[in-house]
Amino acid sequence: MPGYYDMDDILMEDEPISVVFQVGAHGCGLLDPGSETIDIEKGMKMDLPYWLAHQLHLRQAVSISVPASFSQKTRKEIQADAACVDLKGRCPYFYELGCKIAPLVGDKTIGSFLLYAFTDRYKEMLSKSHGAPAVTRFSSRLTKEESQLFEAARSSMAAFKKWRTGGSRLEKAAILGRKRKRTVPLGPSSP
């Protein structure tokens, strides 16, 4: 269960879901910037962030349709070659959102679809993470969760190598690290 302060959870809940209002709502026209009245009519279609769509769905005020990231088209692409699909572009929180949305839309196939996509991509991810360092084209296709795994694999490999060769224990604080490279050229220079 993600915590109240979990930034990834909060940002995941910001993903848009398209909903249809089953009842009207008054005094919240700002939700839809193009709307002229401040009321929402019954039957209105709208893209709402997940946090609101979920709450409204619990009250049976809206009906939710399956987001485009889980459409038949995406499923076909995943089946063809999962590792090549740019999931980040579709939805950076693909798996988390999928887990949350599945019970709401009552689509039982989403679960197995997510599992298939993850296991298939995981293999590729793991082998690439130990390989060449320049993997930006591949890593830019990864969702948030996948790229965390990817980084974890890379950093533990780096830590292992450092341990084996006996790296330094004392290091400069990381927070000062990057700035220096921009302001001062490396190597000793006279005052």
């Binding site: 109240y4 302060y5 979990d6 930034m7 990834d8 909060i10 940002l11 809940e13 910001d14 009842v23 009207g24 709502a25 008054h26 005094g27 919240c28 700002l30 939700l31 910037p33 009321d39 929402i40 962030p49 946090w51 609101l52 709450q55 409204l56 009250r59 005020a61 006996g166 790296g167 330094s168 224990r169 004392l170 290091e171 400069k172 604080a173 990381a174 927070i175 000062l176 990057r178 700035k179 220096r180 302001t183 001062v184 490396l186 190597g187 000793p188 220079s189 005052p191």
Partner: protein, 231 residues
């Protein structure tokens, strides 16, 4: 769209590398607070309408009620975003004390809001009073050293420094045998020079601190170059 500015605020913090601080976004923060006030006003007026119709707020499910419901959840959402923003930054601010010691460099201070600076000083004082009470330095390296002193090669002029009971002159390329605890701050927080006041200003401003850390067998096991110090 409700809750948009709040999540943008968070995205800004989330997009930078973990453990790094972004500039405190006062403007966006205030905008979210203003949005909250707006929601509150709308909520009140919707409640008033419900009261006028003599309906029970808890049981009715008409348009006004749903509108109020949406405003209520937008408020909660904004609150959660703001809280998470502060909480995540506070975590980084606390970690700064362990990484950089009690005095922060200006470039990091500039990124913090006033209350965060106060928080940092308070947190730092709390740690220090605990350490002096227990008489143990918690910021020292967790792995016990093989010997209490280390060989240090000074990579650039630092000048006279006071280490414990004696003073030592750290000039370029000189080799010293220092106590490990004395050498550690030069390596981990080199951008801040604690003994800077002892040097003459013009030279000090341009001084680059380079401390090279030598192992007992002479093998280099750490190189920590550092940047210009502004006197």
């Amino acid at each position: 769209m409700y809750g948009r500015s709040a999540s943008q605020l968070l995205k800004e913090q989330a997009s930078c590398e973990s453990g790094q601080l972004t500039v405190f976004n006062n403007e966006a923060f205030d905008r979210v607070i203003k949005e909250c006030d707006e929601h509150h006003l709308q909520l009140e007026s919707l409640f008033r309408k419900l009261m006028e119709q003599n309906l029970d707020v808890r049981t009715t499910t008409n348009g006004e009620h749903l509108g109020a419901f949406i405003h209520h959840h937008s408020l909660l959402r904004n609150k959660r975003c703001l809280m998470a923003y502060m909480q995540n930054r506070a975590e980084i601010v606390r970690s700064l004390r362990w990484q950089l010691g009690p005095v922060l460099p200006e470039e990091i201070k500039a990124k913090m809001s006033y209350s965060e600076e106060v928080y940092f000083v308070d947190h730092s004082n709390a740690i220090e009073s605990y350490m002096s009470e227990m008489d143990v330095d918690l910021t020292a390296d967790m792995v016990p050293p093989k010997s209490p002193s280390v060989q240090v090669k000074v990579l650039d002029d630092i000048g006279d420094v006071c280490l414990g009971d004696h003073s030592i002159s750290l000039t370029k390329d000189s080799l010293h045998s220092l106590r490990r605890t004395d050498a550690e701050p030069f390596i981990s927080q080199v951008s801040y020079h604690p003994f800077g006041a002892m040097r003459d200003d013009a030279a000090f401003r341009l001084t680059l601190l380079f401390v090279l850390f030598l192992g007992s067998n002479g093998r280099t096991f750490g190189l920590m170059p550092e940047k210009t110090i502004d006197g």
